[in-house]
Assembly symmetry: C2
Homo-oligomer: 437 residues x 2
């Protein structure tokens, strides 16, 4: 893509409410544009990053055998009255009345809807266990939307729902999802820590939040620093290994402020290992047994012909929020560097452009075509502006690899730079190898 043709409307005057780095950077690089309070349009650059995140989330859901589907955004109030949450949810739920005066709502979550689908179609234990997920827009009418897409009203979320016959089956499913989450965040370049958490309006007895460390986070967290040393690569998607994984994580104290008790913290964690900091919630999983299946009469026949209420869990990842969370985690020393897996482009070519001399631009265009032929997604900064302004701009755009075409480049060698590393003179093949590595 030529930068001169790419629609990246850069906001120069930041609005006063853009207080955290991710909000500022997403406006500065034209990733998003506010449409109304807490509601954003995703412009091409932001959209690309979000889609890459979405695809990684999807692949890891598929890897544990979850089936993708898609529930609508607008739900009938009736099912929420059945579960008893219609009144509980309060003003955060966007309530709508259609032209026939039917009570509808913009779904803030989908436990009721999936339970209704399941109960109407599944009557026997034979289809269990089952995990369904969808990636869909949701709406929560926050009183004070803030921090850009981090705490907005219309947001994009992966939510999964599981159905099991009994608690031991449900525990295995919960562990699978726990594993899929750690895998997902690892592929997104993030170190996430599962922490015991309150269940809030979803309900239930067991719940973990997945938190990444960031000074700007809204959650206070308390943890034993040893929990950060556990690598997900040690485990695999098999019952025994998954149990070991959950036990290993449970050995170390790691909670958000809801669950924090200073006496417990001091009792369980040596002073020198205590970490008190802030974090961003990027995922949240719940096991709530028959909370919805009972109130909504969702049962299956067991092998023995008995009716039992299915055991359910739900599992969320904030896909749009992750775009901001990654920025909060990766922006350092006035520079953004996107993880390769979600960068809007694989590499950017930055020619030094001089009005009276098109040599660099011509060279850059040739290289651009070569890299595209090698299936790389390349951005060419063909804009006529001075090179130091260009570098400042690319510090924000955060594409992890740069090729600088200026005085240093010779006929076949180009100045190649991975952000935060020294630049090297490389030829085309070496460059392709470095990027694809």
């Amino acid at each position: 893509m030529l930068l001169s043709k790419l629609f990246v409307p850069i906001t120069k005057d930041l609005p006063s409410e853009a207080k955290i780095k991710s909000h500022q950077l997403m406006l500065q690089t034209g990733m998003i544009r506010q449409s109304s309070a807490g509601i954003y349009s995703w412009l091409p650059l932001g959209y690309k990053v979000m889609k890459k995140i979405e695809n990684i989330v999807r692949e890891e859901q598929n890897n544990i055998g979850a089936q993708e589907m898609l529930m609508p955004t607008i739900q009938s109030a009736d099912i929420w009255k059945e579960s008893g949450r219609y009144d509980d949810y309060g003003e955060e739920m966007l309530r709508i009345s259609d032209r026939q005066k039917r009570e509808m709502l913009y779904g803030p979550t989908n436990e009721e809807q999936i339970t209704e689908i399941f109960r109407s179609s599944v009557k026997s234990y034979k289809l269990l266990p089952q995990i369904f997920y969808h990636i869909q827009w949701k709406f929560r009418d926050e009183l004070r939307p803030r921090f850009g897409v981090m705490r907005c009203r219309e947001f994009y979320m992966k939510d999964a729902y599981s159905f099991d016959l009994n608690e031991s089956g449900a525990t295995l499913t919960y562990n699978k999802m726990f594993y899929a989450y750690l895998k997902t965040f690892q592929r997104l370049g993030l170190k996430s820590i599962p922490m015991k958490a309150e269940t809030g309006p979803i309900g239930g007895d067991l719940s973990h939040e997945f938190i990444i460390l960031a000074e700007t986070g809204e959650s206070k967290i308390y943890a034993d620093k040893k929990v950060f040393d556990i690598s997900i690569d040690r485990y695999k998607d098999e019952k025994a290994s998954l149990e070991k994984m959950k036990n290993d994580f449970s050995k170390y104290y790691a909670v958000t402020d809801d669950k924090y008790k200073s006496t417990e913290f001091d009792k369980n964690v040596k002073k020198e290992n205590q970490i008190e900091t802030k974090g961003i919630e990027v995922g949240h999983i719940f096991y709530f047994g028959d909370k919805y299946s009972k109130s909504m009469n969702c049962s299956v026949d067991t092998k023995e012909g008995k009716k039992i209420f299915v055991k359910m869990g739900s599992y969320g990842i904030g896909v749009s929020r992750l775009v901001a969370a990654i920025i909060e985690a990766k922006y350092k020393d006035n520079k953004m560097k996107w993880p390769k897996s979600v960068s809007p482009y694989d590499v950017v070519i930055i020619p030094s452009i001089n009005k009276n001399d098109s040599t660099n631009l011509t060279k850059a265009k040739k290289l651009y075509e070569e890299l595209k032929k090698n299936s790389l997604d390349v951005l060419l900064d063909d804009i006529d502006e001075n090179i130091s302004n260009k570098f400042k701009k690319h510090d924000l755009l955060g594409i992890p690899f740069q090729i600088i075409i200026g005085s240093k480049s010779s006929k076949d060698l180009f100045e190649f730079k991975e952000v935060n590393f020294e630049s090297k003179m490389l030829d085309l093949n070496q460059i392709i190898k470095q990027i694809k590595n």
Copy 2:
């Protein structure tokens, strides 16, 4: 995928309102489930088909240089008041009041929103021409939602918006989109005919609907049968060729009932070439000049320093509706056959299963693994039911290739069948070749 694990809840008792084949078949094969009037959940099978359609639509938009972005579903009423459409739109627009009593709405279309984004960021002719598109859920509060996803309330749509400096540029953009639409529908296995149409609530002077023939269509159409002989393969995405394409189509009479006049039809089309039938609208494109740019004050500076209102067009494809439209076009003689490009699976293996003999199922599972290794998306019907019921079920599921494992199959040869063709005995490599061809 094993059919026993796939969530395809089959509706046996069709509701009385399911009058057309696509609605019936989508319920019978568990592709969708109604959530409330005119609002549907897309279950795994339906979701897969819709996603494949979406991807083809996306690729053809990208091929003509359109940039993808994503606008939110909920819009502020303010911009609709600016354009003057807030009152015009009537009760089809789902109006919402948020917790702060702000007037919002669920977008039925996005002309206002994209114009607002464009005017706030683009000030110079230099970024023109430009096409943006998004694929997003929309809502039209139909008085009588019917025909399943064909005329529903919450629907999935690709809508594109173009910005040009002058009318000749805008015509080229219009022709590019015309071309992209014909390419898209061709890849979906559909023969679509562009027809001059009324512009309706979008407005403007020039508009084409893309219609596919189907007895169940809601649009009456009148055409010269010669228009069906024009192949899009004759043209390419270059100015002169695109003009020729539009002229070639314009030579033949082809209109929907809005534009139909019997005297013109008889004057322009020989009796023996006259086609009067019904069709389904699958796409609609509009050129409306400065209708929105003027009312919303969206101008750019020209090279000469003059301010001009940009010339705009909009271009829609109903992605969710296309799932139903393809069924209406492809279901024949009590059998569905999905076009290969959008079939939920590449191939289905149908073993004849006998309670006391697992030979066929074992053979089927081995073949299933082999085909998966060759990157094919395979469905294995491992359900224990009699073979004639299986065949009836697969007549509805419509996967275009079947491998039947029964008495005919020998050690290395399997009964391979493309739906609507004779079956043949083939070995693994021949089967892979046939499917991938």
